[in-house]
C-alpha cells in the first residue's frame, strides 16, 4: 500500500506546530498503524531528520499509552480499538491519512503527537483509590457482592486512561474517564467508605484541570476503545449530587 500521511509536527511544547505531508510506500495491510509509523520513522531517520514522536507501550491494546486522532476520529475509524490494534487493512491504497495529537487545553502537546496526560493522574490522586491502612487480607468471600454489580464495576474498571473520550468530546470533557473511575469504586463495598469525598474531590480536580463540561453528546462512549458506557456518567452525577447534598464538607 502507498499512502500519503499528513502529520502534526511540533518541535516542543512551546513551539508552533504545523501539518507536514509524508508519502509512505510499500505498507503491508497486516501492519498495525503504529508499525506503519515505525516504517515512516525509519525513512525519516535515514534522511537524518527528527523522527515523529508518538506514545506507545504494550501495543496490545491494554496499556492506554497510544493515542492519535486519525482521519478525524480518536484511535481511528474502527470502533472499540486502540490505535496500536488498528490495522492498515482498514485503509485503502492511495489514501491520505490525517494524524493529529489529542487536542485539549488540559492535554498540552509535548512534541509532535505526544501529549501530556498527567491531568488524569492528578484526578486519580484526588480520590480514585480505596484506602487500606491496616489489617490482614480479608477473606474474599466474606464480602458479598451481587454478580451484576461486580460485572458493572469491572466494566468501568476496564478504562485504560488513554484520553480518547477527551479527544473525541466536542467540549474536551473528561466526564467519561472520571465517571468510570468514580463508579467503579462507588459500586463496591470497599469503595463506599470514601465515596462522598471521592466524588467531590475528583470532580473538583477535573474542573481545576480545565476540562470542558459534559453535554451528553455521547461521542466519548462511541470512541472509547474499551466501551465505557454513558451509564457511568449518570452514576457520577448521582454520586456527586448525593455527595454534595449530604457530605459534611462545608468548604
Amino acid at each position: 500500500m502507498d499512502l500519503t500521511l499528513k502529520v502534526w509536527r511540533q518541535k516542543d511544547k512551546d513551539a508552533a506546530g504545523s501539518m507536514v505531508t509524508y508519502p509512505v510506500k510499500g505498507i503491508s495491510p497486516d501492519m498495525s498503524f503504529l508499525e506503519m509509523l515505525d516504517v515512516l520513522n525509519e525513512d525519516i531517520l535515514r534522511r537524518g531528520e527528527d523522527p515523529i514522536a508518538f506514545d506507545h507501550d504494550c501495543r496490545e491494546g491494554i496499556c492506554g499509552m497510544c493515542s492519535l486522532f486519525i482521519n478525524g476520529r480518536a484511535h481511528g475509524p474502527e470502533r472499540g480499538t486502540t490505535t496500536c490494534q488498528l490495522h492498515m487493512r482498514h485503509f485503502n491504497d492511495g489514501d491520505t491519512i490525517t494524524i493529529e495529537p489529542w487536542r485539549a487545553a488540559a492535554f498540552p502537546v509535548h512534541k509532535d503527537l505526544v501529549v501530556d496526560r498527567s491531568a488524569f493522574d492528578r484526578i486519580q490522586q484526588a480520590g480514585g483509590y480505596v484506602s487500606v491502612n491496616t489489617g490482614g487480607v480479608p477473606d474474599a468471600n466474606a464480602i458479598p457482592i451481587p454478580k451484576s454489580i461486580a460485572d458493572k464495576a469491572f466494566d468501568a474498571a476496564t478504562c485504560i486512561q488513554c484520553g480518547a473520550c477527551v479527544a473525541a468530546c466536542k467540549n474536551a470533557s473528561a466526564m467519561l474517564f472520571v465517571s468510570a473511575k468514580v463508579s467503579q469504586l462507588a459500586m463496591l463495598p470497599q469503595g463506599k467508605a470514601e465515596r462522598k469525598t471521592r466524588a467531590e474531590n475528583m470532580v473538583a480536580q477535573m474542573d481545576i484541570e480545565g476540562f470542558g463540561a459534559c453535554t451528553n453528546i455521547g461521542s466519548c462512549a462511541a470512541e472509547c476503545p474499551v466501551g465505557i458506557s454513558l451509564e457511568n456518567i449518570a452514576m457520577l452525577r448521582r454520586e456527586y449530587i448525593s455527595a454534595t447534598a449530604t457530605s459534611e464538607n462545608l468548604a
Binding site: R103, A104, K170, N171
Partner: protein, 228 residues
C-alpha cells in the same frame, strides 16, 4: 467558596441547573400550547381574548411569570458560562474532525439552536407580549366586558409570509433543541435506569415533535386557511 456555590459553579452543578430549568421550560411549553389551541375555536377570538386577559391579570400566573423569566435567565446564563468554558477547553482544534461519525448533529449544536430560539423569543415577545402587557392593542367587547383584542394581532401577524416562516423555522430549531435536551436533562440529573430510560428517550422525542408541530400549525393555519 462555600459548598453551595462550589456545587452549582462546578461543571456538573451548572448542568444540574441547565436540566432543571430546561425541564421547567418544557412544562411552560405545554401550558402555552394548550392555551394557544383556543385560537382554533370558531368564535371570533372571544375565548382566546378572555384567556389572555386571565393570563395577564391572575396573580398566580403573574408570579409564575417571574419564575419563568428566572428559568430562562438561569438557563441562558449557564449556557453561556459552559459554552465559554467548553471552547476554552480546546484552544487548538483539529485539522480534520468527523464528529458526525459518533454523535447526532443536534446534540453538538445546542448553543446554535438555543440562539435561534432566543432571537425568535425576542421577536415573539415584542410582537405579542409587549403590546398585550403594556398597551397598543385594539379593544373588543365580549359579553359586555372590554378586552384587548390579542386575537386580532395574532391573526394579522400570521398573514405575513416571512413572519410565518420565522415561526416555522424557530419551531424546527426548538424541536431539535428538545430532541437532545429532554433526554439529556434526565442524564444530567443522573436519572437513568434500565427500566425507565428507554421510555424517557422515546417520550422526549415524541414530546419534542408533537409540541413543536402544535406550535407551528398555528401560523400555518392562519396563513393558508384563514381570511380576515
Amino acid at each position: 467558596m462555600n459548598w453551595f456555590t462550589k456545587t452549582f459553579s462546578s461543571t456538573i452543578g451548572r448542568k444540574i441547573i441547565m436540566s432543571i430549568t430546561g425541564l421547567f421550560l418544557c412544562s411552560f411549553l405545554v401550558v402555552h400550547l394548550i392555551g394557544n389551541l383556543q385560537l382554533f375555536k370558531n368564535d371570533g377570538g372571544a375565548a382566546f381574548n378572555v384567556y389572555s386577559h386571565f393570563m395577564g391579570t391572575n396573580p398566580v400566573i403573574r408570579t409564575m411569570e417571574i419564575v419563568l423569566l428566572l428559568g430562562f435567565l438561569f438557563h441562558i446564563y449557564d449556557a453561556i458560562v459552559l459554552t465559554r468554558r467548553n471552547k476554552a477547553a480546546r484552544p487548538v482544534g483539529y485539522a480534520e474532525n468527523r464528529p458526525g461519525e459518533n454523535s447526532p448533529w443536534s446534540s453538538r449544536n445546542m448553543g446554535l439552536l438555543g440562539t435561534v430560539i432566543l432571537v425568535f423569543l425576542i421577536i415573539h415577545l415584542w410582537n405579542f407580549f409587549v403590546p398585550a402587557r403594556f398597551g397598543g392593542l385594539e379593544g373588543v367587547v365580549v359579553e359586555d366586558v372590554e378586552y384587548d383584542n390579542l386575537y386580532l394581532r395574532v391573526v394579522q401577524s400570521f398573514q405575513i409570509w416571512w413572519y410565518v416562516a420565522i415561526y416555522v423555522l424557530a419551531m424546527v430549531a426548538l424541536a431539535y433543541h428538545l430532541i437532545h435536551g429532554f433526554q439529556s436533562a434526565f442524564q444530567s440529573l443522573g436519572l437513568t435506569h434500565k427500566k425507565y430510560t428507554p421510555f424517557i428517550q422515546k417520550f422526549g422525542y415524541a414530546f419534542s415533535v408533537i409540541v413543536c408541530l402544535g406550535f407551528a400549525i398555528i401560523p400555518l393555519y392562519f396563513f393558508f386557511f384563514f381570511e380576515l
